[in-house]
């Protein structure tokens, strides 16, 4: 059991060996036990397989009839889950790889996200679509993408991307409790990581703030989801080089307001914006735009995936995704 939300400034209580994956599984276990309206559906989610990334493992056995293995039909999975949500249930749909969410784009954007508003608030759509995303496992061009940027700025749709510095289970519970559809992005490489306590702010989708080095931060990092895996070591290296930094790591990445975090961190003179996906019109573009629009922005550099397909060859994938080195280099370039 994990608390459902975190208040401002709370250091959330985890860290006792619970992994990112287990936090999610536990949250679904709790949800299924506590709320008869909750159900899970997705490809191969039943035991003993427990889903391609094993996040639903153990659940179908404990909650028979409420964990549903679907056909390979992403549009129908999201569409049917939308109907279940309209009908008063609390479906959590799993898309096996985030890359496949593209088959359900219409159901998500032209249906689930629109209903509440276009039907004049006569319905709500408490739908959660979980999507394991990102690269780093040499799965090649169609199984490694970070496509969540294409779902930003969709009226009616929230996009939430936990890290192990948040409480992923609590975020999932918040998403299930949300009256609006939530696309819930889980970076594959985070699954095995143990949760770490961190300073978090805001509810129900808290933003984590990490500070490293001594004194006023010279650089502010903005990242989400899998980006955390480069930012934390980069901050350590920067601290060693005598450069203090602050990382802002929101869990909800749609409609994220960047400027206030920069302001409240003391307006560091430089900002490095990190995103695993490609740069064009992505999350970091939105962050940079907000900083720029507010006037007197810091100097800014984006660190993103290269503008090409994600190659299968592991070493090429490593070379084209962001890295700790790239984050450090960007920070140094701005600070010096």
């Amino acid at each position: 059991m994990t608390p459902a939300g975190s208040a401002n400034g709370t250091v959330h209580p985890h860290g006792g060996g619970l992994t990112f994956r287990a936090s999610l599984t536990e949250a679904m276990d709790d949800l299924l036990r506590e709320d008869p309206r909750v159900l899970l559906l997705g490809e191969d989610v039943l035991d003993p397989y427990g889903g391609a990334f094993k996040v639903t493992r153990g659940l179908s056995g404990r909650y028979p009839g409420r964990v549903l293995a679907t056909p390979v039909s992403e549009a129908a999975i999201v569409g049917a889950a939308t109907g279940l949500a309209i009908g008063g249930l609390r479906p959590i749909a799993e898309v096996m790889f985030g890359d496949f969410i593209l088959l359900a784009t219409d159901e998500l954007i032209n249906h689930a996200a629109k209903f509440r508003a276009m039907y004049n608030d006569q319905v709500t759509v408490p739908l959660v679509v979980r999507a394991p995303a990102g690269g780093g496992r040499a799965y090649g061009p169609t199984h490694s993408q970070s496509l969540e940027k294409h779902f930003l700025g969709v009226p009616g749709l929230k996009v939430v991307a936990p890290t192990h510095l948040h409480d992923p289970g609590a975020l999932l519970r918040a998403a299930v409790a949300d009256p609006d559809p939530v696309l819930f992005i889980e970076h594959k490489l985070l699954y095995p990581l143990e949760l770490r306590p961190a300073e978090v702010h805001g509810t129900p989708y808290p933003t984590a703030v990490v500070r490293a080095g001594r004194g006023e931060p010279a650089v502010m990092l903005f990242a989400y989801g899998g980006g955390v895996r480069w930012c934390l070591p980069a901050m350590g290296r920067l601290a060693e080089a005598g450069i203090a930094s602050t990382l802002c790591l929101p869990s909800r990445i749609d409609r994220f307001a960047a400027w206030p975090w920069w302001d409240l961190a003391g307006r560091p003179p430089a900002a490095v914006l990190v995103e695993e996906g490609t740069a064009g019109a992505g999350w970091t573009a939105e962050v940079a735009a907000q900083l720029a629009e507010a006037g007197n922005p810091p100097v800014i550099r984006r660190v993103t995936g290269a503008d090409d397909i994600i190659p299968a060859a592991g070493h090429l994938e490593d070379a084209m995704l962001p890295s700790t080195d790239a984050v450090v280099a960007a920070a140094l370039a701005l600070v010096r």
Binding site: G79, A80, D180, H201, P250, F256
Partner: protein
């Protein structure tokens, strides 16, 4: 005619005549520039709406409709005034003027302007009703909509999971300007059965038969929670939307002579039909007048979703990482 059949004939004729009158009025309102945008009328297909929807239970069932939804909406009991108001862009519209002609929602009635996109949603809602222990749904489809893959995913899922849902196909032979034979290979009515959905094919001339079929099929769906399909051959007498109609005029004429509404009217005593017509005319005229005079639609109060609230970081402590 038996007593019951007589009553049913009156009900169906009234329903169909109301739909016809409302949609002819809509055509006129657009022609006169009193409405903006576009619309799709179901003139000629009213027997499907009246026949099928009347077999449903408004207390617990639901209806998924399409871009061509006014008839289904009215047959479900939707108010003409709310429909007119919706298309006039008025606060009192079915969806406060936000949805417009294709995007209606009211009391378990849903339509959307994306072909076949609602099919899986209907399956999901049907499953939720099954879980709740009561209620079934109907999902209307056109023949052109058989082009969309989402429909087949939905037929499969409905049959596989036992969704209490009646798919109703209104095959009017065309998708927009394109005839069925240029859109589909094989026999359309043979497709739902290939996904485990039993299908009854009928022509849609007689609303009484449609009603009986719909009653039989909904009974079956209620009994075993398995989906069924009612495949109706029909024809639209008007253009696809407000644009020109390029179909063969002789073809249209032939169908106009077999207009199910006219046929239904002939079953009633002239005087009774005249009375019904007069009442409907008055009701529709009143609805238009009231709707047009209603206040303009307002923007939604709450933008969706709201941005994340700004926390007060000032009070926050923090440890170095």
């Amino acid at each position: 005619m038996a007593q019951a059949d007589e009553a049913l004939a009156v009900e169906l004729y009234t329903q169909m005549a109301l739909i016809r009158r409302v949609e002819e009025t809509l055509q006129a309102l657009f022609r006169q520039g009193r409405m903006r945008g576009t619309t799709h009328v179901s003139i000629g297909q009213e027997a499907c709406a009246a026949g099928v929807v009347g077999a449903m239970d408004r207390q617990r069932d639901f209806v998924f409709s399409t871009h061509r939804c006014h008839g289904h909406f009215l047959a479900w009991g939707g108010e003409p005034r709310a429909l007119f108001a919706e298309l006039f862009g008025r606060q009192t519209g079915v969806c406060g003027g936000l949805g417009g002609s294709q995007h209606l929602c009211w009391n378990g009635f849903f339509s959307n302007g994306i072909q076949a996109g609602m099919a899986p949603v209907a399956v999901g809602l049907a499953l939720s009703r099954k879980a709740a222990g009561e209620g079934i749904g109907v999902a209307f489809l056109g023949d052109g909509t058989f082009g969309e893959g989402a429909l087949y995913e939905s037929l499969n899922l409905a049959a596989l999971w036992g969704a209490p849902l009646l798919f109703v196909v209104e095959d009017n032979g065309y998708a927009q300007s394109t005839p069925r034979r240029m859109q589909h290979a094989g026999r359309l009515a043979g497709r739902p059965p290939a996904f485990g959905v039993e299908t009854v094919v009928h022509d849609a001339a007689d609303p009484i038969t449609i009603r009986r079929l719909a009653e039989a099929l909904t009974l079956a769906v209620r009994a075993d929670c398995r989906p069924r399909c009612l495949y109706l051959h029909t024809y639209r007498l008007a253009a696809h939307s407000l644009s020109e109609d390029y179909r063969d005029t002789e073809e249209i004429e032939r169908w106009r002579r077999a207009d199910p509404l006219a046929a239904m009217r002939r079953r009633l005593p002239d005087e009774q039909a005249d009375t019904i017509d007069r009442e409907i005319a008055a009701r529709v005229a009143d609805a238009v007048a009231a709707a047009e005079a209603d206040p303009p639609a307002r923007p939604r109060a709450v933008p969706l979703p709201e941005p994340v609230a700004l926390p007060s970081l000032a009070s926050a402590g923090g440890e170095p990482a």
